[in-house]
């Protein structure tokens, strides 16, 4: 087709015409009229052929211009559909169509590859077959870029996974630690509270004890001084007893003297009695003599009788005195005995008093010791009381601190939760970014109907929040749902849309439909939902 002859189509009639006209002119000069006429006819035919060829070329070029215009506008649907044209027009047409086909292929391949990247699918590469030159180089560049993006996305995913797990473990540790801290703080607060209570009650008790001890100390002091008083009294009574003993001994001695005097009186009385007896005998003798002397002796006889009477009376008186002296002697002996008894009693009293004094002295020492000890005890209990008040203050402060720590630990725990949530949201947003963009690319429409979610573990109901041809957002909590899980959604009888869970957050989850597995009915159902909602 592309022979050099066919390419001369544009100029061949002109050359023939020009040669014919030149020949004709030569023939006119040579006056060969018929030859000139013949050549003129040839020239005319050549002109007509040239015109025809030009028309053919013009329409061919016009089509080429139209196609090129369309291609220039980016319309790759347009081709030159006048096939198998002869000559250069046919070549031009095929060349333009081939060019359009190759650029079209490149545009479709590159946009499909880039669209796949936009949808996070990195296996889609531009097929280099059929590409040449700049298109092949551009294809290689785009494929290399896709490789790079894939590597980076994978690295990014690995990094975010690591980041997420690291943050999660940190946050878990943080929350666990802060919970432990909170529990410890609670226990500490409880302990401090109970310490405070106990300390308070100990303080009260210790104050009571202190005042009791103080009273005891005072009593001990009084006891000590009263013991000292008793000691004085005892000393005085001992002195008195000693004086009494001395006096009793002296009295004894006096009474003993009295007894001796009485015995001497008795001896004197015996002498008197002897005198009286001899007197009586003398009187008797006198009487006898008087009687012999008769009347002369009568007066004498009377004196003799008187003397006799006197002697008798003296005998009687001495008898009485002797009896009295005997009484005196027996009374004196009794008195001596009594005095001796008194002396013994007083000596006993003295001995007792001595013992008492020893006891009282011991008592004084003891009460002094007691008073000192009690004073020490009082000081001690007051110090204990002060210390316990200090402990109580510390316990209150500790309880306050424990509350503070508990608050802090709650704050840490809440902040940990918040950090965890923020990181989770951040990572979800980070990973969901491309999916969201896909949703923007694929019109996403609000839904609101209930769907059955058929998962690996069973069936659950969920609400379809919004839907597009490529995915859906659902509200509902499914036990054990995880990212990457394969599900099937059923929103209408006998229609199931296979899909994969891409994200889960706050009771909602997003699925991407497995487009290769969607049945015609499922596609129609989805398109129906999208179109109806868009029309509304």
């Amino acid at each position: 087709m592309t022979s050099s002859f066919s390419r001369s189509e544009a100029i061949l009639p002109g050359i023939v015409g020009l040669v014919a006209i030149a020949g004709a002119i030569g023939a006119v000069v040579l006056e060969a009229r018929w030859i000139a006429l013949g050549l003129m006819i040839v020239a005319a035919i050549a002109a007509a052929a040239g015109l025809w060829v030009a028309t053919h070329l013009r329409t061919g070029v016009a089509r080429a211009i139209r196609v090129c215009d369309a291609l220039g506008r980016g319309d790759f649907e347009t081709r030159d559909l006048e096939f198998d044209q002869w000559g250069m027009v046919g070549e031009l047409s095929d060349a333009i169509n081939d060019m359009a086909d190759h650029i079209d292929a490149f545009v479709r391949e590159s946009s499909a590859a880039m669209d796949a990247v936009r949808h996070n699918r990195y296996y889609r590469r531009i097929l280099p077959d059929g590409m040449r030159g700049a298109l092949l180089r551009a294809s290689s560049t785009i494929n290399e870029a896709t490789d790079m993006i894939q590597e980076r996305v994978e690295a990014f995913n690995v990094s975010t996974e690591e980041f997420a797990s690291t943050i999660n473990s940190i946050v878990e540790n943080l929350i666990a630690s802060s919970q432990g801290m909170g529990e410890a703080a609670t226990r500490m607060g409880d302990g401090a509270g109970s310490t405070d209570n106990r300390a308070s009650s100990v303080v009260a008790t210790s104050r009571d004890a202190s005042s009791n001890v103080q009273r005891v100390a005072e009593a001990a002091g009084r006891l000590s001084s009263s013991a000292k008083g008793i000691g004085g009294e005892v000393e005085r009574s001992a002195t008195i007893a000693r004086t009494a003993v001395a006096r009793a001994e002296e009295t004894g001695r006096i009474v003993s003297g009295l007894s001796a005097a009485a015995e001497k009186i008795g001896a004197v009385i015996g002498l008197i009695d002897q005198v009286a007896g001899q007197t009586n005998l003398l009187a008797l003798n006198a009487t006898i003599e008087a009687a012999r002397a008769g009347e002369a002796g009568r007066g004498f006889a009377v004196v003799a009788s008187e003397v006799k009477n006197l002697a008798e009376q003296t005998a009687k008186a001495t008898g009485e005195i002797t009896r009295h002296i005997a009484e005196v002697q027996s009374a004196t002996r009794a008195a001596v005995d009594s005095i001796l008894g008194i002396g013994g009693t007083i000596a006993e009293i003295d001995a007792i008093t001595g013992a008492m004094r020893t006891s009282v002295e011991a008592q004084i020492t003891a009460t002094g010791d007691i008073a000192r000890s009690v004073g020490n005890a009082f000081e001690g209990t007051r110090a204990v009381s002060d210390n316990i008040e200090g402990i109580s203050d510390i316990a209150r402060e500790t309880a306050h601190l424990a509350h503070g720590i508990l608050d802090t630990s709650r704050t840490i725990s809440a902040e940990g939760d918040r950090l965890s949530g923020t990181v989770r949201d951040f990572l979800i947003r980070l990973r969901r970014g491309p999916l969201d963009r896909r949703h923007h690319a694929e019109p996403r429409v609000p839904a609101g109907h209930t769907v059955t979610v058929i998962g690996e573990t069973g069936r659950e109901r969920a609400v379809c929040v919004d839907v597009s041809m490529s995915g859906a957002k659902l509200a509902g909590t499914l036990p054990g749902l995880h990212v990457g899980e394969r599900l099937a959604l059923s929103g209408a009888p006998d229609v199931q849309c296979p899909c994969v869970v891409r994200w889960i957050q706050d009771g909602e989850f997003g699925v991407e439909f497995l487009s290769a597995e969607l049945s015609r009915a499922a596609i129609e159902r989805l398109r129906g939902l999208v179109d109806t909602a868009r029309a509304a």
Binding site: E77, D98, D104, A105, E109, A112, R125, L514, S515, A516
Partner: protein
């Protein structure tokens, strides 16, 4: 027309830097074919214009593959498929077809575009011929064509699911 052609066991090929290009309307009627297409299929481009694309369908191709292709195009997805085609003379040629929707300026799908490249012969031999053979047997084993198609399509999806996350991923992993 295709029914009148008796398949031969002759294979024809095209160059690795060549692309077979065709465009169809929404119903699959050819609206453009390039020279390579015309040359290998043995039809003139004038003959191909307006003809159904199934003019080159080979009876060895399971219908499930075309169902998958049309389903995916219905979702406005590009489709890759290894396809065994048949020339006017009954000869066959394998292609690695890439079919995409064509849009107008308002974003409406106005037709489909197919670029076919020389396939990897290893994939044809080791994967496509056994799989397509199985699907074809499934389709043939049902008296009712509809049942056969459902069974073989189900089997195709099972094969995809067992090997990869998606059909595209499977195709690109081959």
């Amino acid at each position: 027309m295709a029914t009148q052609i008796i398949p031969t066991q002759r294979e024809v090929t095209f160059g690795p830097d060549e692309i077979i290009v065709s465009k169809t309307d929404l119903k699959g009627r050819i609206t453009y074919a390039n020279r390579t297409f015309a040359n290998i299929a043995g039809y003139s481009r004038g003959e191909l214009m307006g003809a159904p694309h199934s003019i080159i369908r080979h009876p060895d191709m399971p219908r499930a593959v075309f169902k998958l292709l049309w389903d995916r195009l219905g979702e406005q997805h590009e489709v890759f498929a290894y396809v065994k085609n048949m020339t006017r003379h009954g000869d066959y040629y394998w292609v690695f077809a890439h079919v995409t929707p064509s849009y107008d300026d308002t974003g409406k799908v106005v037709g489909y575009h197919s670029n076919r490249r020389v396939p990897d012969r290893r994939v044809i031999r080791e994967v496509m011929e056994p799989v397509y053979g199985e699907l074809l047997r499934i389709e043939a084993s049902h008296a009712n064509a509809k049942d056969g198609l459902r069974a073989s399509f189900g089997r195709l999806l099972d094969i995809v699911k067992s090997k990869a996350n998606s059909y595209d991923e499977l195709i690109f992993s081959l």
